[in-house]
Symmetry: D2
Subunit: 390 residues, 4 copies
């Protein structure tokens, strides 16, 4: 159960032991965040980088050495079962999330899992059920939610400054699959990725829509496979058929009545991190894009037509937790800093009981939107999103 990990915390109040699975893009990102968080956020306990797992033992050992983990393993099961570990962070390919998380939950660990949570909503549901039964804390890596600019957007919306939300126009476009020469990987396989860009990037913009607007009640989606086949990585003269969408678009209706569109693409030439939204309220608007992650554009009808316009607010120390990183405005956070905030949020949840969001249940709700989109596309009709509220 959870006793062992928490026992450790009792033995040494000031420390949590971290086990990290994965050494790739997200693995490194997590490692950097665990290293930085206690220095950025002085109220946090120490985070002891205990064990790093990678299927290749040499990679695991080298990465552990680089990232400052005390030990390494090529067997993630060893890691998740280690009684000394409090937090298991999972950054493996999507199809491994569920087994790893469930094993960690069974061992009583708090689980910090990269997104999307599982291959489908059923998987997310199972993970949620297990975690809640075990009473462990969970957090899913929708890091863009932790941007001070997004927290500012949320504050503005909650304050009523721009009135009632009437429209959401969101997208997450990148071009990592734009070239037809990009090889076939697990991302193009239905079995290994579960879904295509609707899940990979779509889930990010869905997570923002939920956070800022409301839960999505129904969708009408259209999913496309733009690049229909790709060369095999190890035998480029052969091609494999792409099985999942690389371009997705949907109409959405929120529970409270607002409507809008959500799109995702991995073939949007020129877009690198175009996670963007335009939120229209009855008294104003917000515009954001992650390529300019340190600014939020705000329009309010509040100083008369000769003076009103979209205002570009640069984040600064009045937009927490920017102040933890820098006391001067406009200096700017980076992508990796968002993960540091996410880790601090996770640790606050573990040590103080701060509600974690998105926890597994929230991520399950996101997965239900993705699933509804897939069904809607298949059936060419408006499709209700299952409501996962407990």
């Amino acid at each position: 159960m959870h006793d062992e990990g928490m026992g450790l915390m009792t033995r040494d109040k000031g420390q949590l032991n971290v086990g990290l699975i994965g050494t790739g893009f997200m693995g490194k990102c997590h490692a950097l965040a665990f290293r930085a968080a206690p220095a950025v956020f002085p109220h946090l306990p120490k985070l002891n980088l205990a064990t790093l797992a990678d299927i290749d033992p040499d990679v695991a050992r080298d990465a552990a050495d680089t990232f400052g983990f005390a030990g390494s393993t090529s067997d993630w099961r060893t890691l998740v079962e280690d009684p000394a570990i409090d937090i298991v962070a999972i950054t493996s390919p999507n199809f491994l999330h569920q087994a790893m998380a469930e094993a960690a939950i069974q061992a009583g660990k708090h689980v910090y899992c990269e997104k999307p949570l599982a291959l489908d909503a059923a998987g997310a549901k199972a993970m949620t059920t297990a975690a809640e039964a075990a009473g462990v804390k969970t957090l899913v890596g929708y890091n863009y939610l932790h941007n001070p600019a997004i927290k500012l957007a949320k504050d503005i919306l909650d304050s009523g400054e721009i009135g009632e939300i009437v429209h959401f126009r969101g997208a997450h476009f990148e071009d990592y699959l734009a070239s037809p020469d990009t090889p076939f990987t697990w991302r193009s396989s239905k079995a290994q990725s579960g879904a295509g860009v609707v899940a990979d990037l779509g889930s990010h913009i869905i997570s923002l829509a939920r956070r800022l607007v409301d839960e999505i009640a129904a969708v009408q989606a259209m999913l496309e496979i733009v690049v229909k086949e790709r060369p095999l990585a190890d035998k480029p003269e052969d091609k494999a058929t792409v099985e999942v969408d690389d371009q997705a678009q949907m109409l959405v209706r929120f529970r409270g009545g607002a409507t809008g569109t959500i799109e995702a693409s991995a073939v949007a030439a020129g877009r690198k991190m175009y996670l963007t939204f335009e939120i229209t309220g009855s008294k104003g608007s917000l515009v954001f894009d992650q390529e300019h992650m340190n600014e939020l554009k705000l329009f309010r009808f509040d100083q008369g037509p000769s003076r009103d316009g979209f205002k570009t607010i640069l984040t600064g120390p009045t937009h927490p937790p920017y102040d933890r990183f820098c006391p001067a405005p406009g200096h700017g956070l980076g992508f990796n800093d968002l993960k540091v905030i996410e880790v601090a949020h996770l640790v606050d949840g573990i040590t103080n009981g701060t509600p974690l969001d998105p926890d597994f249940r929230s991520a399950w709700q996101i997965a239900e939107v993705v699933d509804a989109a897939i069904r809607s596309d298949a059936e060419r009709q408006w499709t209700d999103v299952n409501d996962v509220r407990s």
Copy 2:
């Protein structure tokens, strides 16, 4: 028939006589354009401003004096039947377009009509049929199509520079109806406007989608009435129920297979002329918005990842017909200049037989998209767009 107008042209090759109906926003815009066009485009014949019609005879007379029309009338029928007039320009409220255009066609006039062409596709069809039977030239005032930046976009697309189009993300957002205190007008009445923002602004972004991408084959639309009632203009303490949409969103599938989203809103706080699109091709992308009408953003995968990026092209004399207005790049055209280009296009069609686009048939096709959107919204299902090709 058409004889009288064309007879005039025979009598005096170098001149076309213009009758204009309407003295409001668009009436003034047309008047300025007819005045300017022959000076901007030296190849054009003279345009004689013959008669200006407004329902109020004093307004008609004053406006005729201001705009330089030789005569005025409060009876548009007099104008359209005047044998001396070659071109009838219609800028009246939407519900009058059809009757005026049909009368002008019957009198053999070339007809230059503001958009949307009619209250619905059936009206547009009737007008098209009449005009084609009469052999008169027609043009509909989708002025944004005449922007040199849009012609540049079309050139880039036609050249194959950005490959095959895979996605269109378009919108036309303004906020002229954002305030709930804005009174009820003919625009909020189903009988007088035919449809709401899906037709008023939606038709602009549809016209751009058609021009740049392809014909739209099917839509799945969601139309909303955000502000549900409005005060009466003459009795503000009373409210009338708004009958047409002020916010529209739709998924679209083009005939050739590209897909995307199209949205329109008259309640998008802060947006004044946000007619915008992002076109993704297999080798690059284009981004435009009419609030920056003198620039086009172009991305191409052509100089390597360390040098590629969205390029902001300022229009200039290499982007015709910018050169007719100014020999120096980056100086910028304005909204009213687009109408001057439109008038020149019209006159070229009349005098040289240049194909006019969008003529009534094209505008009918646009109206079919709008009608399909309305049906789709009512039936909550994917709806094919009628194909109006002759």
Copy 3:
């Protein structure tokens, strides 16, 4: 004398007769403006396009026909001495301005002259003296001053909204001389242009600095000739030595104590109409560039650090005289529209006695700044600007 022109006005209150010298870029721009102004501004009298002069009689005749002038001449002296003409508009090369203007003044005409007024401050002084002695109205073509966005900037500054001005950072950069293959023209000749870019473009940004901040009291300038020789137009294998600056930069001190920098370049690769300023006040800032001529960026410390930012105000009908062109905000004016406003300003000055700015005296003050910059560069020292206040 002046009687004839004004006599004409008496004979026909509602009309002013215009003679225009020059058919090039600025000639066409003036012609379009004279055609449009009375329709855009209904309060104006009729503007009768009487005579167009060009040194080539065929060009003059064709242009007169195109632009709608009643007559043409190849002899500008005929035009300026024609008793029927009220306004003489001068768009010839710089070295001809003085002789033409003085002849027109002697004939009692109101003179509307393109910038820079003369080849040097001495010339500008002579022209000013002549005009003021004759009592004619004068206006110099610093068209960017007439932008509604600039009027908005002036309103904001005058209102005290951004406090006391402490700094001006201005530039006018273009790249029309960036290519070393661009031939030698009168613009590169000291005798014919008087000065280089410091006068050609520098005078524009100086005109904005004066309008918005204050008179410039002293300058410290550095003028450069970046491209040192250019091919002859008719014999490209031969090169001529460029005699005037194509890049200028100066420190400035305003009379009231504010300071700043002003720069001009004709070799700024990629800049097409980068007439730009950043004005810092004690309570806020303004930022503008002419490539986005329909917007002004405003910062004010007025809603707290978590909400303050630069606001992009799109011009609209609340920013006169935008409303004369269009009743809807954000639709945008173009370069040529500024000349229409300028012509209206001229005519208001003639018919209503509205003070004209920049008249010859103001343009003389601008010329004194340019002259001071040239002396400062030569002597490498701070140089006071002559004060031309009468």
Copy 4:
């Protein structure tokens, strides 16, 4: 001497011991960077956070605990003389830099000092002389130079892609002193700060000008004190006279002949991190501002006037060392990441002998530009910059 520190390196090849002085804004920034660097850059040796010094022993102890330093001290002399320490990082107020650095040098430590290096050029010279005599490595914290976007700019310039540089227009504007209510601090004291914004922010833009263009040979400067008195921090009803500039502007001439302007302001309302430059070359241009630190705008005359424009390049893994932080383009680095790169540069210099830039001698050259600006302002004349090349 230096032996001890290097001896440590010999004892344990894989580790350098770090002593950090200061726990404020820059102290935390350094601490985070030392923690992160070995994980971001796997080739680096371990960096052992040995001792943290702050004048307040409690602050020192708490910060050491938070940042992960093994020990703390309230006496910086203890730190710099500790034989176990290899690197001394100095983030104290400017007036302490020299004494601390000289003591550290005397103890044979490598010195990593925040900018500006000393209170004046004489101080910088003394520090340089001492460091070079001792043979220690030095680096000064001009962190913006380490931005991958700046390295990209340097690559573009070195490649000749935009030809020969003809103009530099640079500024560093912030508004941290814009409010007259901001109290008097050491920054407003001549004795403690040496100079005002010309040194504080001016040195940053000077450092970029040197890196990208050339050494500055001569300046003509104008320094202003905009806010002339400020309240005392502990007795706000009393005011102290500000002794140093808060707004600076200068003309500059580079050794190779290029010219331009450099400005700095701490009272530029609305600017938070507006460290910006426009570099004009004979074949293109570069534009950058630190508020958008992850992008560089590039113009080249290379695809014809109908396709040329400023291209916004988002940094990515093809722009090293961005790839060390993230394998995907456009995700963005933040302010603190630049310090991580700076630390890696420092360590490379220590362990591999990579030339460090800006070392003390380079920073001395920057100080000479600042000193020349101060003299130029006082004497109101062009002033040559001392050349510090050894």
